[in-house]
Point group: C2
Chain length 204, copies 2
């Protein structure tokens, strides 16, 4: 799940050392994995001292957690609670948000790798579990609200259980991301499968 | 996806050094991840010399590949192509096989970790991609055959596309495994979600 919109991916300069460190950490995880993340390397890549990095993030685990949040801030789904834009149905807004998680641009791909990596690492690192769970729940709640908007405007079939459907859909998107990033499915096929599933599951 | 049945999990002694090495490698990956896999440690845990390990598997990548195959040999879904056992519908045989991938016994859990880890590592290690893709395709084909059995006996709703449905279902099970193993969902909730999805998607 790439929780950051392509729109947020325009190469902006970080405002401060904290931002520079988070950019460097996200890039490092996307290239080498969470388990390839060395605090000294991130500090060097960000052009800051290691003590300054620890000043901001306290520990390696704190840095990984903040990087996960950084990768989520402008997720495609984060606009769903505001409701669909003028002239768009709830169904279409939800479809657009979820399909945007599967996109071969560097920005979306990197953030998807960060997400998949942090979740995969949480299998071995108990420290990360609460953060992953919280992020999963925030995402699911955004999708619940997207589903409710579609139920309200009649573009999503009545009778759908928003909570259960959101949990299944976000889990499916996670699974599609892993298959895409590990080379078992093309990004186009992953999008096709997701679009077919949404249509079957939700369309009025 | 834990590709090994609980039935295969009875603690059998490996027949030979090759089997002992594979058991040790699976256990090491389940505890420390693919990226924590050191060939010397696996050889020591298996009680063999490092040269003997290389004699069997040629390289670390060869060992990881063989461990992936080892974790798949007696997968819950591998019986699906034989058709449902006497007195069981195709739907029920498929449901049973897929739910068996989500099980908190050590054996199923360890194999699920091996699978998730190898797929997550394939994001960074190109060497693993072809093996992961092949295993994914074998699994999907088993599920396709399970769906066809249910279509033939009328227990699965007519009009289902077996190929697309199998691809979506196996991807969903992968996503549920990741959430379960990373602590975002309990194994019971994961099973409940999968059972609900199967009913909605397939039941006649």
């Amino acid at each position: 799940m790439a929780r950051r919109s392509p729109a947020a991916g325009t190469a902006t300069e970080p405002e401060n050392s904290r931002g520079a460190i988070l950019q460097a950490a996200a890039r490092t995880i996307a290239r080498h994995g969470v388990r390839g993340l060395k605090v000294d390397d991130v500090a060097a890549a960000a052009g800051v001292s290691t003590p300054l990095l620890y000043y901001h993030f306290a520990s390696r685990a704190g840095l990984v957690k903040a990087t996960l949040e950084y990768a989520s801030i402008e997720a495609p789904s984060s606009a769903l609670p505001e409701g669909p834009p003028e002239g768009e149905t709830g169904y279409r807004a939800l479809e657009r948000a979820l399909l945007a998680e599967l996109d071969d641009t560097d920005q979306v791909r990197d953030n998807a790798v960060v997400w998949g990596e942090v979740a995969a690492s949480a299998v071995f690192e108990d420290d990360l579990r609460a953060d992953v769970k919280e992020a999963v729940e925030i995402w699911r709640e955004e999708v619940v609200q997207g589903i409710r908007a579609g139920l309200a405007d009649g573009s999503i079939r009545a009778g759908i259980d928003p909570e259960q459907t959101a949990e299944l859909l976000t889990t499916l998107v996670d699974g599609l991301c892993t298959r895409w990033l590990s080379g078992s499915v093309t990004v186009d096929r992953a999008r096709e499968l997701l679009a077919a599933d949404l249509k079957h599951r939700l369309s009025a």
